[in-house]
Amino acid sequence: MLRLHMACVGSVVTVEDLASTGILRERMLALGLTKGAKVEVIRRGPSGDPTVFNIRGAMIALRNEESSLVAIQEV
């Protein structure tokens, strides 16, 4: 299964499922990472982490630890 942290910069993917629990899951849902949501990978930080994603029109930075909890599908 592909995870969000593996997606290449510039690609657009859709969310399949979340492996996070508790507060982080709530936060991810609130940001709009629901099943089927489109996510664009924008850029990686100075050391390759965190990565900026376009999630529902907002620029959100996630560390690899978090983005690896998002299962995705390539569009």
């Binding site: 849902l29 629901t34 529902r56």
Partner: protein, 705 residues
């Protein structure tokens, strides 16, 4: 009787939920995602009638303001910015609880026109809680620039609530918003929100639960309560249990068990959020037109600001430029102020003479208290009045989240929270404010790390000391371009402070505060042109005056006290002389002298008085001299045996030593623990002593000092 805030037993926050209002007054809550310009809307509505300062950390304490429209008065409550109301953080809980249990007459949700899809999620959640909602779509000017068109009428019909389009920064739409709020509380407009319809399975349970809950739900929408009964929120359910009679509770449970819900609560919450977002997607598709993407300005800027190669150097350069402007700009007004205060002093002395006041009274009040005050104001006010606005401009531009983004990998390696970078930035202004800002970090472990290390960024009280000493020792010798070397050395010290922050964070999280870094999500808001009016208002009135007032309150008695110490003699030495003599051997070990160490100890109430106290002590007149030029300061220091080592170590000690009393008191308040307060003093002091000993050793080995 219904569900009230009292019943949820969250008494610590009770006081902020019930807003005392007079007759003819209405309470309006302002909710919205972070970075939607909610504060701008708040400021535009209330003008200058605000009751709390504008620090981060107000996230948890609601800011309040007032405005009137036609014949009605309104109290506006600025809720913390949140993405949702499912209480995954303190901010969300405060916002949710205020809307649920506070006595708001209406809720205004502020949404960002350029990012409506994400914002409407919160709008739907608020609509489930209460019917009295006005949607304020802010930043329409930016949306226009980005070629985003919003069909407000269509959206209004779709949502069933009044919508106002706003560009709060230029005041557009604010009158309409006031009118919409007025119409709503007056009952002239009755919103009937169209809720998201969930799958039949849920809707069926909701239709059974709502009639039972209706009786007990008070002001809260029973549909929302019913939803929370099936998708979680244990805390809310527990408090409900105390309110609903046993037999009703049993029938609620039976309904939930009998309806064969196949999913667990987590899955239900997923479905509910998905359903809301699907609905939002559907309506943004029909009412928001985003014409073909033009070149995205923000991304081009970010290509440099957050790039691998330029990100961190640009950050340090920005810092240096800010210091350069502050140092070179503060010089002239400082001299003016100092002249002015000196003139007043002459008048005061004349008055004391005229009244035949005893010498000691003149000494304590004029030479001690007044002179220290004059020093603090003339030395601190100009740099603060320059530094804080510059800093606020960066904040307004949206630069600080980029700094946090660039630095995040370092904080991650130190096992600290990414937001610690933001609390550090606040510490540049005032460490006490930085400690309060640590509230934005949810995990207690990382909040403590951020609290304990905040002191390693020099605050405004310490900048004057650092700047003065580096100017004295580097300007004449430096030779090229006034102010450049001091700027470099102050910037260097700040970088040292940041390195030590990371180091101590790492050590703490490997020893007494073990744990793995908790998760964090960081939004990089669009760049926005700062509004000079707001910048000046928040930075000068809120921040500068706050810090200056605190300094004055503390410096005045400390000045009087130091004068007394300097003028009580035992034998032929003043008390100050005795204390300095006692401290001297220890101070020599770390490259300082007894007077310097004593000044730091006496400066505990406020760091800004360290240098004045030191000068008072050196001149053993017990009062501050009036130095009209940097030269005279250099002479005093050189006459008292200062070397480059003394200068370096005094700056290092100032950067690293214990926090000031205000910060310590704030740490005690925030952590509620004497142990952590004591540690927050011991850890930096330990570092200061170790590092100063090392530099002393090196200097002496090479015979420099």
């Amino acid at each position: 009787m219904g569900l009230t805030f009292q019943s949820t037993k969250n008494s610590a926050l009770t006081d902020i939920f019930h807003i005392n209002k007079l007759e003819n007054q209405f309470v309006i809550a302002l909710a919205g995602n972070p970075n939607t310009g909610k504060s701008t809307v708040f400021n535009s509505l209330t003008g200058l009638h605000q009751h709390t300062g504008n620090w981060p950390g107000k996230t948890v304490v609601n800011a309040r303001g007032e405005f009137n429209h036609e014949d009605k008065d309104f109290i506006l409550v600025d809720l913390p910015g949140t993405y949702s109301l499912f209480s995954s953080s303190v901010e969300e809980e405060v916002a949710r609880d205020f809307i649920c249990f506070g006595n708001a007459d209406a809720v205004v949700v502020v949404a960002d026109a350029t990012c409506l899809e994400r914002n409407l999620n919160l709008v739907y959640q608020v609509m489930e809680l209460t019917d009295k909602v006005v949607l304020c779509i802010n930043l329409i000017d930016e949306a226009k620039k980005k070629k985003i068109e919003i069909d407000a009428h269509g959206l209004e019909k779709e949502l069933g609530i009044p919508i106002v389009l706003c560009a709060a920064r230029s005041g557009i739409g604010i009158m309409d918003l006031k009118q919409a709020i007025y119409n709503l509380v007056e009952g002239k407009v009755k919103p009937s929100p169209n809720h998201v319809q969930y799958i039949d399975e849920y809707e069926e349970i909701l239709s059974k639960l709502c009639p039972i809950l209706q009786e007990y739900s008070g002001n809260i929408n029973p549909r929302w309560l019913a939803l929370r009964m099936i998708d979680g929120d244990e805390k809310l359910i527990r408090s409900l249990n105390e309110f609903i009679p046993e037999d009703k509770l049993r029938s609620i449970r039976t309904i939930i068990v009998e309806s064969d819900l196949t999913q667990d609560k987590q899955a239900i919450r997923d479905f509910i959020t998905s359903d809301i977002y699907n609905k939002v997607e559907e309506i943004t598709d029909s009412y928001v037109i985003i014409s073909s993407r033009k070149i995205n300005r923000d991304r081009i800027i970010d290509n440099y600001i957050t790039s691998k190669r330029f990100g961190i150097p640009l950050m340090i350069l920005t810092l240096a430029v800010i210091f350069w402007i502050t140092i070179s700009g503060a010089n002239y007004p400082s001299a003016l102020l100092s002249d002015f205060f000196f003139m007043i002093e002459g008048k005061l002395t004349f008055m004391f003479d005229y009244l035949n006041a005893p010498d000691w009274l003149h000494g304590v009040l004029v030479l001690g208290l007044y002179k220290t005050l004059a020093w603090v104001v003339s030395v601190m006010l100009p740099p603060m009045a320059i530094f804080f606005p510059l800093f606020t401009i960066l904040e307004d531009l949206g630069y600080l989240p980029r700094v946090a983004f660039n630095m995040d990998h370092l904080f991650k390696k130190a096992c600290a929270h990414g937001k610690q970078c933001l609390t550090m930035c606040m510490g540049f202004g005032c460490n006490a404010a930085g400690v309060i800002a640590c509230r934005i970090i949810e995990s207690p472990r990382e909040r403590l790390i951020a609290t304990l290390t905040n002191n390693f960024v020099p605050c405004n009280g310490r900048f004057p000391t650092l700047i003065a000493i580096s100017t004295v020792f580097l300007v004449s010798q430096g030779g090229f371009g006034y102010g450049l070397l001091p700027v470099l050395s102050v910037t260097g010290l700040v970088v040292i402070g940041i390195v030590i922050t990371l180091l101590v964070s790492y050590i703490l999280s490997k020893t007494i505060l073990k744990g793995i870094p908790s998760t964090f999500t960081l939004e990089l808001p669009p760049y926005r042109v700062p509004r000079i009016g707001r910048v000046l208002y928040t930075s000068i009135l809120d921040r500068t005056m706050f810090v200056l007032w605190r300094a004055i309150v503390i410096a005045a008695p400390a000045g009087a006290f130091t004068w007394i110490l300097g003028n009580i003699y035992i034998g032929d030495l003043s008390l100050i002389g005795h204390i300095a003599g006692f401290l001297d051997p220890a101070a020599r070990l770390i490259g300082l002298d007894g007077f310097i160490l004593m000044a730091f100890i006496l400066g505990l109430p406020a760091n800004e008085i360290v240098l004045p106290i030191l000068l008072m002590a050196y001149l053993s007149t017990g009062s501050i001299i009036d130095f009209d030029s940097i030269d005279s300061l250099r002479h005093i220091l050189l006459d008292n045996g200062w070397t480059y080592l003394t200068a370096l170590n005094t700056m290092l000690f100032s950067l690293l030593h214990w926090p000031c009393a205000t910060t310590l008191i704030t740490i005690k308040k925030e952590t509620g623990s004497i142990k952590w307060t004591v540690l927050s003093a011991i850890i930096p002091t330990g570092f200061a002593v170790v590092i100063c000993s090392i530099t002393t050793l090196i200097f002496r080995l090479f015979g420099w000092g």
